[in-house]
């Protein structure tokens, strides 16, 4: 299988924080949602993959090329979008287009103009006069106009209202219709990932907790509300995390199908990505 991103044993150490031995692969034609609480290491992971921050790894390959030796070539084919515009607010979209035409070899001016029209972004209006949503749209227009094969979004949709976010998700869907394209998207807004992600990678305190397909998450994880007796009979290997409530336990189980066969009468809720994250962060682990 051809991967858009392949990372093996990536470690980045800061004072008081370590991104610890991360390995994962993002297949082409898919969207991976990177989730985790603030400070979990999502941006550090993205920065390390992109070579913005130096890190140790046995392999960091993007679009089949080693990032250490082919970073310039790779960056021609990727686009990174952050949660706000990083262009000078006194410049206009037209000037941004002019600048980027000198940055990227495969810059497509007519396509950029097309995106500006589609997003209702006036070419001559200064960025400072654009709303937060329009600025992010400008980032998308700029990012997509050099025909990237990989999009990396670092909390890009965080500051947007639901309508704007939905539009952005449509753009991403359109982008990944091409089987050669892929998206790595870090986000706090797990409902966005519910709509678009094929894979979910969950990072907690610098460690990768799991990488699963969205379907696996739906089929593997479930939430059981039970008393002490049932809680004690559950295998510790099936419990991802639990929360003790005044008269009961809420348990996130990670072997839903197996447990369903054993405990046929117990009600089991579906676990959303957000539920899983909250259980891992706030719940207790079985020792």
């Amino acid at each position: 299988m051809e991967y858009a991103i392949e990372v093996r044993n990536l470690t980045k150490r800061y004072k008081g924080f370590t991104l610890d031995d991360i390995s994962f692969a993002l297949p082409r034609g898919t969207v991976m949602g990177l989730i985790g609480e603030n400070g979990a290491g999502k941006s550090t992971l993205i920065n390390s993959i992109l070579g913005i921050a130096d890190s140790e790894s046995s392999l960091t390959a993007i679009l089949g090329l080693d990032m250490k030796t082919h970073s310039k070539k790779i960056k021609e084919d990727i686009a990174v979008i952050f949660n706000d515009s990083h262009y000078d607010i006194n410049l206009t979209p037209k000037i941004i287009g002019h600048i980027l035409s000198k940055v990227y070899k495969n810059w497509d001016g007519p396509l950029f103009t097309e995106y500006l029209e589609r997003f209702n972004l006036p070419e001559e209006k200064k960025i400072k006069k654009l709303s937060a949503g329009m600025r992010v749209k400008l980032e998308f227009a700029a990012a997509l106009s050099h025909h990237p094969k990989l999009l990396i979004l670092d909390e890009a949709t965080s500051g947007l209202d639901p309508v704007f976010r939905d539009e952005i998700l449509d753009i991403l869907r359109e982008f990944t219709e091409d089987e050669d394209h892929a998206v790595l998207m870090s986000s706090h807004i797990t409902s966005d990932l519910d709509k678009i992600a094929d894979y979910i990678a969950y990072l907690h305190e610098g460690k990768m907790q799991f990488i699963k397909t969205y379907d696996e998450i739906r089929s593997d994880y479930g939430i059981i509300t039970c008393g002490q007796e049932l809680f004690d009979t559950l295998s510790r290997y099936d419990i991802a995390a639990y929360k003790k409530e005044p008269c009961s336990y809420r348990v996130l189980v990670k072997n839903r199908t197996k447990l369903r066969q054993i405990f046929q009468d117990i009600p089991m809720e579906n676990a959303s990505v957000e539920d899983i994250m909250l259980f891992y962060v706030k719940g207790e682990k079985v020792k």
């Binding site: 262009y87 000078d88 006194n90 940055v103």
Partner: protein, 215 residues
């Protein structure tokens, strides 16, 4: 690198506030050149013009970049960290070149139009201004990359004031003729390559600082 240079040019000359300061500076020096033209001011203008304007582009672009946190985006462009720094130095060379050309025209005007100095004297002072602008840019740029815009600008202004003070005191201590003497003209054969070496070293040092900053 063209993209980064173009962005810096836009930030320097498209943004009204920055353009206004260039126009104000040019008008001030231009009028001073016409109305206060003595042997003393000839040396001052010829040297200061290229020294101050040569390193000004980084001041404006550094300010704009820090405001927008452009560095974060810039590092995702298909450029190496060395190329990003190099593009800043190339722009300074372009601006220094343009201001040196203007100061050469001014120096020649003092030879053939105002008849204030001889051609050798004019070229000696102009040669010193090449050295001065390269060394000044070298020091100021390292400070900008190392310490950021705020402290960088403070050092830029402080260095310009110190330089003006040194010029004033040197004319008292060694006499104004020391700037146009035959000895100085001969020393230029050493000073010019030395300043080019300092400029290259400054560029290498800034690359290392920039790499460290994004590591």
């Amino acid at each position: 690198m063209k993209g980064i240079i173009l962005k810096d040019l836009y930030e320097n000359f498209y943004i009204k506030k920055n353009l206004a300061s260039y126009i104000f500076g040019a008008l001030f020096i231009g009028l001073a050149m016409i109305f206060i033209n003595t042997y003393y001011t000839f040396i001052l203008y010829t040297m200061f013009l290229s020294i101050i304007f040569g390193s000004a582009p980084l001041e404006a672009s550094c300010e704009q970049d820090e405001k927008a946190n452009f560095g974060k985006l810039q590092i995702t462009f298909p450029l190496t960290k060395a190329e990003i720094v190099l593009s800043k130095y190339l722009l300074s060379l372009i601006c220094t070149g343009i201001s040196l050309l203007i100061s050469l025209i001014y120096a020649l005007a003092n030879v053939y139009f105002w008849r204030l100095v001889t051609l050798r004297e004019a070229l000696t002072v102009w040669g010193l201004s090449i050295c001065g602008s390269l060394v000044f840019t070298s020091v100021v740029y390292v400070c900008y990359f190392l310490l950021g815009k705020k402290i960088g600008t403070f050092i830029y202004v402080a260095a310009a004031i110190i330089l003006a003070g040194l010029y004033g005191s040197s004319t008292v201590l060694f006499g104004i003729e020391s700037y146009t003497s035959m000895d100085t003209a001969v020393r230029l054969w050493f000073l010019l390559p030395a300043s080019v070496v300092i400029f290259a070293l400054s560029c290498l040092l800034s690359i290392q600082i920039y790499k460290k900053k994004f590591s």
